[in-house]
Every structure is written in structure tokens, then in C-alpha cells.
Symmetry: C2
Subunit: 462 residues, 2 copies
Amino acid sequence: MTDTTAILAKADENFSASLERLFDLVRIPSISTDPAYKADCSKAAEWLTAALNELGFEATIRDTPGHPMVVAHHAADKPDAPHVLFYGHYDVQPVDPLNLWENDPFSPAVKELEPGRQVITGRGTADDKGQLMTFVEACRAYKDAKGGLPIRITILFEGEEESGSPSLKPFLEANADELKAEFAMVCDTGMWDRETPAIAATLRGLLGEEIIVKAADRDLHSGLFGGAAANPIHILSDILAGLHDETGRVTVPGFYEGVEETPENIKASWETLGRGADGFLGEVGLSVPSGEKGRSVLELTWARPTAEVNGIIGGYTGEGFKTVIAAQASAKVSFRLVGEQDPAKIRESFRAYVRSKIPADCSVEFHEHGASPAILLGYDSDFLTKAKAALSDEWPKPAVVVGMGGSIPIVGDFQKMLGMDSLMVGFGLVDDRIHSPNEKYELASFQKGIRSWIRIIAALAV
Amino acid sequence: MTDTTAILAKADENFSASLERLFDLVRIPSISTDPAYKADCSKAAEWLTAALNELGFEATIRDTPGHPMVVAHHAADKPDAPHVLFYGHYDVQPVDPLNLWENDPFSPAVKELEPGRQVITGRGTADDKGQLMTFVEACRAYKDAKGGLPIRITILFEGEEESGSPSLKPFLEANADELKAEFAMVCDTGMWDRETPAIAATLRGLLGEEIIVKAADRDLHSGLFGGAAANPIHILSDILAGLHDETGRVTVPGFYEGVEETPENIKASWETLGRGADGFLGEVGLSVPSGEKGRSVLELTWARPTAEVNGIIGGYTGEGFKTVIAAQASAKVSFRLVGEQDPAKIRESFRAYVRSKIPADCSVEFHEHGASPAILLGYDSDFLTKAKAALSDEWPKPAVVVGMGGSIPIVGDFQKMLGMDSLMVGFGLVDDRIHSPNEKYELASFQKGIRSWIRIIAALAV
């Protein structure tokens, strides 16, 4: 086990300089979605390239049809050390409405939120400049203290994450050999709470379907036809109501193929987090978990598949009343997938279920809206186990392995295109107001984030 | 039994003059909804008043806040004759798009549709000028042949039927004593087909409810909350799907209280009409009767109550896809009522049913959209029986007693405000294109309509 004491001390010694460097990067308004800031995006890429080169990385700017990528390499001290790819993004969200900001978004400052709690304010401090700089500054402290790095590191900084990453897939494809490592480290997620670091180990997949039920060839008067003519809203309601059984399980045949139970120790660790229905649902004015009975809200949102109707429309929906039987009605339905669920098979099974509910004189039309399987990073991979121990050493409470209900596309891209899993570690908090006015990053997230990466790098080298 | 031979002969002898008079009335563009035609509405009222006075009625124009009413009285030959109120409306629909008319809408003409089938073209020929003139011309032939009328007749012509009849209820209320008769005759409906006259004996009632299901206090991300947070579209679908059981019956408790089976002889007469699902539903691209199993489409639409969802909306309904769990979803639901069904009781029962399906942490809001009970005119009243026989004498096929799926507000107003039932007889056809370009009225409808009223008046006098 590497003794990290000296490296951590170096990081603390350097911390005010680390903070100044983060401020320099935040001052560059690299808003990727607004063409007016194109030069600023390039400037941020250049700033990072220079910083990495200064650190001893071999860093280059790579042009794309959009904003440039930064790619950097650093060898390990010893030949058979692991090789990791670190990913972050230097672009930020727009800042309007500007008048809601208490401080200029591009003039970062340290502010005391409450006694003993300091935050760094500014656009991009949490998403993602502060986060990626924890890693860069960890490498700096490591090199300053040890003269080298114990693992081989490739860095990829993107400048289009906030605008849909149009150049990312072609770039990964064109540079697969250069970028491929044993696994990736993605620093764009959050802590469980201010004392508890988190590693995301699963991401649910997503399957989107739009169904349009068609009945008569025109809208009908419900006085003349009501009681005899098929009503597509009734048919659709029946289809949607039938999607779940009385225990909250999804009824689509074969839906649960490939769904495994979460390991008991993981579920037990979630129980200790003390975030039951009251906390989770209470934030949005609810209290009763819907969905599958007998499972906690964390399990329901992290580790169980779902069917949700995201939108429905049919007939007259304006002010007042119109006694019409609509010619058609439609709904958008999405399925969150886990484990080995196969989106293509589920789509077919769902469509067969829907078709079985359509009367002989009616019809249904389907439109696809994406299909991606769940991403399983495993609860007990070697690198996750090491990172978990390292994080637990740094923070007041042990690290927790969590699931993510939504998706992080880069993780899927790395898995599909480069064949590597990701270690998702980040130090954001839910109240960081990313994408909103008054974005902030905890000063403790930045400092202990740097220290966390030092510990993780050391742990991975062993 | 009055011998009508001479009166019918007089009507035929007068027919070309009757047609000229109808043309005169149609030439007045009495479009009630367009203020530009206000003077023309008054002109039509004056024209009718003059025509009725010339005929020996005591006719007057009555001003209202809108267009004037025409009220006329004519005594019977003998003191204890029945007293009837005849209702029609002289206003017409707008004519746009004008370019779709083959003939000028206010230059009526007789046109041959196919060999042996002539029609009168022009706005208002069928709705309702041609129809009301069948009655006026019947009275004229009667008086010409007999010197008087065998029943006491009050006539009410309205000029706002096509624009919501805002002045009607206050006028009925203010003039109830003058207008009240034993029953009303309303000439604003149609024939079953070109050979079969029809009398409408029932009109379904209508109850409208809007329900808004509310869950979280904001729209949620379905990745983060899906599987744990209540989805109002699911709750609403479940409510709506549960409104009917597998036999198509409405499940709202107590819904069928006051619903009686249609008499077997009436149902048998409907069977002979040969308008099954193929014809009725085939016109709009359907073929399978929905709703209650084991009943004909005519029974379903004329004599059975329904629950129909007229509109539904919730969540994201634009282009593409958005993985949102909506904060609320809403539906507009209407019930068609028959027999003695009580709208107020059904509303309460429906609301209780809906509330029973709302999870503890969600809520529901209701909005009323009208409630009117069914109108039952009876299948075997004395006046209906007489009119049915009279119509059967005139037309190739016997008259049929039908139901109406929708509502005719004037009939409810007469029942509620003047305490009298209506005899609904009219000679329109489904292809008359009322409210559309190229409105027409069959020449046979006009001539045999006049003759029908002569027979009915004679029959009612006995």
C-alpha cells in the first residue's frame, strides 16, 4: 500500500494555487451552445492543454467540426501499471437569466454559505470545471511529491457536453486505439451527501415508444355515435392501465427477462442511507411509493425497470367542453431498463401486447424513440472496490455504491465503442444548481476531491 | 275521420305558389350570427308575420335583445279542439366558403339531382325555412279548402337558433301563458330515409365532467423518479379504463338506475330499418359496435346510456420525446343519459368512484360541464300515435319512431318551462348538407311535408 501522506500534504500545501488555477479556467466563458463563445471554448481547450503540458503530460488540442477536444497522455512509473482514461468536459451551460446571479458567473469567488461551509461560485464550478480540476490537481500533487505517476493516464476533455456532444462518437471512433484504456474514470456525478462519497455502478437503459390508436376516419359527434363507435381514448386507456398489474409489476410478456435481484449487501447499504420515501418523495410533494410493491424507493429508481407514460393526448383538450369521439389518440411510453433486458425484444413484446388490445376495425401506429440497454458496471469490480476503499479513507462516512435512474451517454459510448467500463466518481451535491443561476461547488468538494483522486490513483497502482 | 282529399288536392294545386313563397323567404339572407345581416333577420320576421296575417293568423313581431320572434295565433273551428304550439326558426347559418356553392345560396332554384329526383337549393332550404314553410303552407291549403282550421294553433318562429338562442328562455318565461299549449310540434328533424318518415320520441341527456389528477408538485424526470413517484397519467388511465366492464356496461355505481328496456315492439321496428353496424358504422370507417354487448347500434345510440371520454391530455405531447412524469393529467368525460337517470346522482357517484382511485398522496379536481336529464316523449302518447298513422298514410313506408342520440335544446325548454312535450316531425335527409355549402331540400320533402301536416292536423282534430 502506497503511503499517500506526503502527496496529500503536498495537495494541501498547493491548495490555494490549485484554487487560483480553477478560477482562471472558470473565468473563460466557454458556453458551447452559443456560437458567440466559440473562441472562448477554444481558449479553455488551450488553457487546459498548456496546464497539462506544464504538468508533464503530452497534451494536444484536436480539432473537430465543433469545439476542440483535449487529449493528454502520461506514462506510469513502472511498465505493467494499469492504464486509465479520465474524462471531463470544459464547456458550460449558458448563464441567463443573468439578473438572478448574485455574483458574476465568470468572476469566481469563495463565499461563506454558513459558518464553516465555504463554496466556490461561478458557472462551471460544479459542472464540470471544478470536477475535472480535482483530477488535474491530484496529478500535480502526485508529481510534485513523487516525481511521477504510478499508473498510465490518458485524459480526454470534451467541449460539447452541454450541447449534445455531436463530435464525440466520430472522435472516439477515429481515435479508438489512442483512447482505449483498461477502464475510464468519469468525473461528472455527485456525492450521496456532504459526508458520504458515492460511486455509480448501474445506469438504467431507456426504450421509447409512441403509439397512435386510430378508430373512425373522422372525429364523431358523441351524441350520434356514442355507445356504438369505438373511442380511441378508451382503447388507449385500457392499454395503458393494463401495463401494470396490481402489485405494480410491468405486464409486458418477457419484460423481466434479464432482470436480476440486487445483491443483498448492496440493498442493505442503501437501507443505511436513510433516504426513504419521506425524503425522496417528500421533496416533490409525494409520500407513497408507486411502482413495484415491497421495494424501497432507492431500489425502485436505481435497480428496477419501469414503464412510464410520459405523455398522452386525444380528443378535445381546450377550454370548456366538446362532445366529440376522437378519430385518434396517442401516448408516449418509456421503459427504464436494468440488467440484461433486451430493448429490441421488449419493444416487440410491447407492440404485440398493444396490438392484442386493438379492436378489429381500429388500427395502431408505432414510432420509435430510442433504445439503449442498461449499463452494468458491476458492484464488485477490482477498480470499484479499490476506489471505494480509497474514498472511504478520505471522507467522514464510507463510500456508497449507488445506481443511477437516468443515463450518462458517455459511459455507454465508452462501453460500446471502446469496450471499457467506467468508474463514476464525482463530488457534486444536489444543491449545486448546475444549469441554473448561482452555480457553486463546495470548497470541501474541491479540496477533498483532489485528495480523493490521489488516494484512488495510489490504490489503483497496487 | 276527416276526409282530407279536398285539402290535399288544394295543396297540390297551390304547390307552385307555395314554392314561390318559399323562394321569397330563402332570398332573405337572415344569417343570425353575423351582425351585418341584422336587418335581413328582421326582414324575414316581417315577411313571415305578413304571410301569417294574410292567412288569417293574428301574427305579431316581438322584439328581443337579439333578433325578433314571430308569434301567431289561430283559433279552431270548434271550442274544445286541441291547442298546439308549432316551432320553427327563420335564421340560417353563414354561407362561407362561398366559392364551394354551385348556385348562389340566396338565389333558390329547383335542380334535378338524378332522373326523377328534384331538390330545392339554397341556404336555409332544409334548415329550417323549407321545414317551417311545410306547416305554413299546410295551414294555407287547409283554410283554402275548409275555410278554417280544426285545431287551435299558436306559432313561434325564432331568429336565433343558429346562434345559441340567447333570447329564447327569457322570452318563453315572459310569455309562458300565451305560448303554452297541449303539446308542441317541432319541425327541425329528418326522415329515416327518402321513403320512411320518422318521429323522434326520446332524446338522450348529457352530463359533462372534467377531472384533473394531480400528483407531484412539479414535472419530474422519469429517470430519477420513474418507478417510485406517482404518475397521474397512469392513475387517469386506470380510472378511465375502469369506467366500462368487459361487457361494455358502465361501472359507475347506480348508473343504470332509471334505465328501462325499450319496448319490444319499438326494438322490433328498429330491426326492420336495416341499418345495422355495417351501414351506421361503415360510413365512418368502422364496423364493430363498441359499448354494451348484444344490442344493435340503433339501440346503443338511441336508447342506451353511455360514458365517453371526449378528451385527454397530460405530460409531453409535442414532437419527439421527453422523459417526464407529469405533475397532472386531465380528461373530459361525458355521459349520455336515458330514461329517468338522475344527472346529479350520477355526478356524485362518478366523483366517488374517481376519488376511490386516487392514491393518498395525490389529489383530484372536478369541473362541471352541464347536466341535463334525458327527454322521454313516450312511444305511445295519443298525439304521437295519431301523427304516426297520418305520416304512414302519406309516405311509401310506415312512419318509424326513433330515438335521438344528441339533444335538441328547445324540446327540453318546452318541457321544463312550459310543461309540454313535443312532437318532433321533420322531412330533412341526412344528405341535405345543412350548415355546409350546397344545402338543399328535396322537392318531395317540401310537397309531401305540406301534405303530411295536413294529414296530422286533421288527425289531431279527431
